[in-house]
C-alpha cells in the first residue's frame, strides 16, 4: 500500500499493511534543509524542499501545508514578525480595538502574498506528492481568527460582552475560511485541518460554545467543498466531542495527549477517524528510545481500532527535536505488528 491507499483504507475502516501515521513537521522541514524561516515561510519552493526532506527523514503518510496561521491574519491587515526559530507571528493586530473594525482589510485571495504562498505551497506539494501521499492543508478556524485580528483579550471581550461585533467578526472570518479552504482544496489538498482553540470549554463555557461558536462554525464547515479534520487546538477535546460530532464534513478528530481514545470513541461512534496523540511540545525532551516506546504504547492501545491514525498532537514539532527522535517515531510505527482482534 502507498500512503494514499493506507489512509483511504483507514477512513473506510478497512485493513491496512501498517498503521497510517504522521508527525506535524511543517516547521521542521526548514531545519532539515537549513533554510532561514523568513524564506521558508514566504517562498513555496523552499517549503516544498523542506517537505521533501521530511519525506526522506521519516516518510510520513500525511504531509502538512505551511503551519503559519498568522499569514491569514496578515491578509486582514495585521503586522507580522519573522523569527529565527518559529513561524511568523502577529505583533500588531489589524484593529486598535473593537470599535476599529473598519481598519480590517478584505483579504485578497488572488494577490495577497501570504495567501498566495499558502495556496502555491499546497499546489507544489500536491504536484510532487499528491499521487501517493495525503496533503493536509492547515487553516485557522473562523472562531479563532478574530483573536489574531483584534487580540485575544479583545476577542474574549467581544464574545462576552459585544454580540454585534462578535457576529460581524465571525461573518468575515467565516467567509474567509470558506474561500481559503476552497482554494487550498482546489490547489490539491486532500483535506483541511483546523486547530480550534475557541471551541473548547477550556476557553469558553460549554453554553457559550453552543450558543455563539457552534452555529457559525457549523455554517462555515457546511460550505467547505471537501473533508475537514478537527484539531484539538491545544486543550483536551475528548470529553467535549459530543458537542462537535454533528459538525458537517468532519471526517476526523485530532486528540490531545491528555485525551482518552477509548472515551472519545465511545462518544463519537465508529465512523470518524481519530488521530493523535503523541505530544509535539514534549518531543525535544524525549530520547529516541523514549519516543519509540511512547509511540508503541499508543499503537498497542489503539490496535483494535481500524479508524485510528497515529500522529503528533499539539502544535508543530519543535525545531529543537532531534532528528533521531523523529525517526524513532516512524520506526516504531513500521516495527509494530498489530495483534488482530
Amino acid at each position: 500500500m502507498n500512503s494514499l491507499e493506507r489512509v483511504f483504507a483507514t477512513v473506510r475502516g478497512e485493513p491496512v499493511d501498517i498503521r497510517a501515521f504522521s508527525l506535524v513537521l511543517s516547521l521542521y522541514g526548514s531545519r532539515l534543509t537549513g533554510c532561514p524561516l523568513s524564506s521558508y515561510f514566504t517562498e513555496p519552493e523552499k517549503y516544498l524542499a523542506g517537505q521533501k526532506a521530511v519525506v526522506d527523514l521519516v516518510d510520513p503518510d500525511i504531509l502538512c501545508t505551511p503551519f503559519a496561521l498568522p499569514l491569514e491574519a496578515k491578509a486582514f491587515g495585521c503586522t507580522l514578525k519573522h523569527f529565527k526559530n518559529a513561524p511568523p507571528n502577529v505583533i500588531r493586530p489589524a484593529c486598535k480595538g473593537l470599535s476599529d473594525l473598519s481598519a480590517l482589510l478584505a483579504p485578497d485571495m488572488a494577490h495577497d502574498p501570504g495567501l498566495q504562498y499558502l495556496i502555491e505551497s499546497t499546489r507544489l506539494m500536491a504536484r510532487e506528492f499528491g499521487s501517493h501521499k495525503i496533503i493536509a492543508a492547515v487553516l485557522t478556524a473562523p472562531v479563532d481568527l478574530p483573536a489574531l485580528l483584534v487580540s485575544i483579550a479583545e476577542w474574549i471581550e467581544a464574545l462576552l460582552f459585544n454580540s454585534e461585533i462578535r457576529d460581524e467578526l465571525l461573518r468575515r472570518t467565516g467567509e474567509h475560511f470558506v474561500s481559503l479552504a476552497s482554494a487550498l482544496l482546489e490547489a490539491g489538498a486532500s483535506y483541511v485541518i483546523t486547530p480550534a482553540v475557541f471551541t473548547n470549554p477550556h476557553f469558553l463555557t460549554p453554553q457559550m460554545v453552543r450558543e455563539h461558536i457552534f452555529p457559525p462554525l457549523y455554517k462555515a464547515f457546511s460550505l467547505v467543498p471537501g473533508p475537514i479534520v478537527f484539531h484539538h487546538g491545544g486543550s483536551p477535546l475528548g470529553v467535549h466531542l459530543e458537542m462537535f460530532k454533528e459538525l458537517p464534513n468532519v471526517i476526523g478528530y485530532v486528540l490531545d495527549y491528555r485525551d482518552s481514545f477509548a472515551e472519545a470513541r465511545d462518544i463519537i461512534g465508529d465512523v470518524p477517524v481519530l488521530l493523535g496523540n503523541l505530544s509535539s511540545p514534549h518531543l525535544p525532551a524525549l530520547s529516541p528510545e523514549d519516543a519509540y516506546e511512547r509511540t508503541k504504547k499508543i499503537l498497542v492501545e489503539r490496535a483494535a481500532d481500524p479508524r485510528f491514525i497515529f500522529c503528533t498532537c499539539g502544535p508543530d514539532v519543535p525545531l529543537s527535536t532531534s532528528p533521531e527522535t523523529v525517526k524513532a517515531v516512524g520506526r516504531a510505527v513500521r516495527d509494530f505488528v498489530e495483534e488482530k482482534p
Binding site: A86, T205, G234
Partner: protein
C-alpha cells in the same frame, strides 16, 4: 461567619461564572457602601477569587470566566483608587512583569498584572517582547525582588533561560526570584526547572499567592547571605 457575607460571596461567584460583569461589580459596590470598599475587597472579592482560581486550576472554569473575574477585580480596583487615592493598606512590591523576547501574547500577562494589583502589589509591566537584560535592569533599578516572565510558545519560553543566565551573571539569583508562566509552562511544568524558574502557578488568580511565597523566599535568602 456572617451569613450575609457568605451570601454575597456565593452570589458573586455565580455572577462571575455567568459572565455578568456589571452585576458582579454592583454586588461589591453594595458591600462597599455598607462596610467600606476595603472590606468588600478583602472579605468578599479575595475569597471569591481564591475559589475561582482553584476551580480554574482544576479545569472547572474556562479562560473566559477567569477573564471576567479579572475584569471585576480591575473595575473594583479602579473604584478603590478613585475613591481613596491613598491606599488603605500597605503596598507590596515592586515587582517586574513582562512577556519574554519575541513573545507577543499579552493576555495572560495582563491578567496576572490585574490580580497582583488587586492584591496590593505594585506591578511594573514592561509589556511584550522584553529583552532578558531589560528585565534585570529594571528589577535592579526598582529594587524589585521578583521578575515575572510570561511566554506562550515553547520557542519563546526557551528565551526565559536567558533571564536566569543574566541573574546569575550579575549575582542576583536568590535575591531576585524568577516567576515563570504561560500556556506552554502549564502544558510542560518541567520547564520551570529547565528554564531556571523559581516558581509558577497555573493561572493568573493564583499569582498573588505565588508572589507572597517568592517575596518571602527572597527575604530569607538575603538574610542568610548577610
Amino acid at each position: 461567619m456572617n451569613d450575609d457575607i457568605l451570601t454575597f460571596r456565593a452570589n458573586l461567584i455565580d455572577l462571575i461564572v455567568e459572565a455578568r460583569r456589571d452585576q458582579a461589580v454592583a454586588v461589591l459596590k453594595t458591600v462597599g457602601e455598607i462596610r467600606g470598599l476595603s472590606y468588600a475587597v478583602h472579605e468578599v472579592l479575595e475569597p471569591v477569587l481564591i475559589e475561582i482560581g482553584e476551580r480554574w486550576a482544576n479545569d472547572k472554569l474556562s479562560l473566559a470566566q477567569g477573564y471576567v473575574a479579572g475584569k471585576v477585580a480591575e473595575d473594583i480596583l479602579l473604584k478603590m483608587v478613585k475613591d481613596s487615592p491613598c491606599p488603605e493598606r500597605k503596598r507590596k512590591g515592586p515587582v517586574v512583569l513582562g512577556n519574554i523576547e519575541d513573545d507577543y501574547h499579552a493576555l495572560g500577562r495582563k491578567m496576572v498584572g490585574i490580580f497582583l494589583a488587586a492584591a496590593g502589589w505594585e506591578v511594573v509591566d514592561l509589556g511584550n517582547d522584553v529583552l532578558p537584560s531589560l528585565f534585570v535592569d529594571k528589577a535592579e533599578e526598582l529594587g524589585a525582588r521578583i521578575i515575572a516572565v510570561s511566554a506562550m510558545m515553547l520557542t519563546t519560553a526557551e528565551n526565559i533561560a536567558l533571564v536566569r543566565e543574566e541573574l546569575n551573571r550579575r549575582g542576583l539569583s536568590g535575591r531576585i526570584q524568577l516567576a515563570v508562566g504561560g500556556a506552554v509552562i502549564n502544558y510542560r511544568p518541567e520547564l520551570v526547572d529547565s528554564l531556571g524558574g523559581d516558581g509558577t502557578c497555573s493561572n493568573a488568580i493564583q499569582a498573588p499567592a505565588l508572589f507572597d511565597i517568592l517575596w518571602a523566599r527572597s527575604l530569607v535568602f538575603e538574610k542568610e547571605a548577610s
